[in-house]
Symmetry: C2
Subunit: 344 residues, 2 copies
């Protein structure tokens, strides 16, 4: 196969030697542990500070735990990992910088807001398929308290949350992506990726991020289906990151206008991770950790059980900062799609 | 050549089909234009606001200008570029998100503090050599006023700057990296990269970032020389990003302890870009834009003129945020090395 043929359509990549998920981990906070997916997570921490003195250090500790568990699950040591591709929501990625420093792995820091897990897995897969690494660790995290402090109000302020608001997930998910082992039966491969563009519909409401991100999710799902000439039914599930209830409706509407009905296949991590009736989370979960631990805890488990064999995983991000928001800018979105398929 | 052999030593990559720099641009502020390298920059903007109302929007406008000029220099349109790899210093990369949105290019947002140009060029080169793209745009920026507001004090506060402090460069540099053209005589190729780890010597002084970053620069230069079994004299120049005068001394000391004397080959973009005697910039320039425009304006020009044929380009970053600094954390460093060589 020529190298040229790795490029599929306008925005997608098809792997010649699809990389394999060799290990995974999900670390969650207590609220997430009490939610509908709680039993799927590897580790649930009852202390919201994760033994630290600040919310930022708490998130760093959570990331370190997720990295350690993923390495253990993949049966490898930090020195077996050639690159780390990681990021978080905090300004200048401080949760990541201080979280994974001790691993001493060459690092690419990335920022894609809540789409980070999709970006990390896309780059990690390309580093492996491109022949630059045998194993790459892709990870991300978010922490409710750190995110509220960063983006909205300190918790002590006790602000009311509108019904359109989502609840930032406290969680960190990590995967070790590497070359397919000789016996890959039952494993999950990354068959391709579709990399998203920034899409801005001019929505300015940081308390309604589902509406900000839905156009970007629609755009990347549409491109994936077009680039591979597939109908939505090719996938058992098309799973967005954290659109929530409002974003899901907008996603369906945009894709229907483009001729695709994905309502049969669609699932949203933000809708699944909390019970909005009993957990007071309004429009659902959000944050880098939302799609990350739903993938590493729940989605991959469903795939290993062969309940789902083809999944399009589409973490979604809202590109805002407290500064851009206060200066009256809109909240553009971005989303990255990863094609996961079971083997054998 | 087998794919395996793309990995050199512990942290380096050697390209099978070295990607080529197809286009470049440098956009600078007035102070940079008045500095020793001023005549090398493509475009110097006299308005510090770049026609905008806020410092963040100013930086976005500067990035957009750099992207447009690099595309023009490479004689291509946005739709000829398969990926954009870009980032900046601001929290949640807002200069980048709002700067390059209109280009509608699939994007990987990255954060490596002032090492961003090295990270962007490393990933862009791997995307091209890996067969995932024919052309990738790598770009970054920094703006003095936005950076002071983000990391230190608003300009109106008029704080005094210690002599160890560096001056954030207002500038944006971009390169189009792509497959080597049939006639590549006189062009500059990217022969390999060495990806850095986070290195923390425990320095806590955000006004002395050279000291924070020097250990990371030393680490990645040492690994590059070891991975390729080279002496410093292999390179005509070994060029760090923004260590400044103090960081340079520390860099020399650490590498001498490891058995390497790079004082003959070393140059630091932060030292070159301003005249510290007449421009009151103390320890030198810094910021993502510092190494970026020194590369795209000055270094590449020297290479096209064949004055330098082998350059190790090592942008250096200090990983801090206002939050991590105020919480008493140290300032770890990271650096990424890119091997540039002239062809023919």
């Amino acid at each position: 196969m020529s190298e040229q043929s790795k490029m599929a359509g306008r925005q997608s990549v098809i792997f010649q030697n699809p990389p394999c998920i060799l290990g995974r981990s999900s670390v969650a906070g207590q609220k997430e542990g009490n939610g509908p997916l709680g039993s799927f997570f590897d580790y649930i921490e009852e202390d919201p500070y994760f033994g630290a003195d600040t919310w930022e250090e708490a998130e760093s500790n959570m990331q370190r735990k997720a990295a350690e568990l993923a390495l253990k699950n993949a049966d490898c040591k930090p020195q077996d990992i050639r690159y780390l591709v990681a990021g978080d929501l905090l300004g200048q990625l401080i949760a990541t910088s201080f979280g994974i420093m001790e691993l001493k792995i060459p690092m690419f820091g990335i920022y894609g807001a809540c789409s980070t897990m999709g970006e990390a897995m896309s780059l990690a897969s390309m580093l492996v398929d491109g022949g630059f690494a045998n194993r790459v660790l892709a990870l991300t995290s978010s922490h409710f308290c750190g995110a509220e402090k960063q983006f909205r109000f300190p918790l002590q302020y006790g602000n009311q949350r509108p019904l359109a608001a989502t609840w930032t997930v406290t969680g960190s998910g990590a995967v070790v992506i590497g070359k397919k082992p000789d016996n890959s039966e039952g494993s999950v491969l990354i068959k391709g990726v579709t990399t998203g563009k920034i899409v801005d519909f001019g929505v300015k409401d940081s308390m309604n991020m589902g509406a900000c991100m839905a156009p970007a999710a629609a755009d990347v799902i549409y491109r994936n289906l077009r680039d591979f000439d597939r109908s939505p039914s090719y996938y058992d599930k098309i799973i967005t990151g954290d659109l929530g209830y409002i974003g899901q409706n907008i996603l369906f509407d945009i894709l229907k206008e483009k001729g695709y009905d994905i309502s049969e296949q669609h699932m949203d991590c933000g809708i699944e991770i909390f019970n909005d009736e009993t957990q007071d989370t309004h429009s659902g979960g959000s944050g880098c950790g939302c799609s990350a631990i739903t993938l590493t805890g729940y989605i991959l488990e469903k795939m290993y059980q062969k309940e789902w064999n083809r999944v399009l995983f589409v973490p979604t991000g809202a590109l805002l900062s407290p500064v851009s928001f206060n200066e009256g800018d809109s909240v553009p979105g971005i989303a990255h799609a990863v094609i996961l398929e079971t083997e054998g």
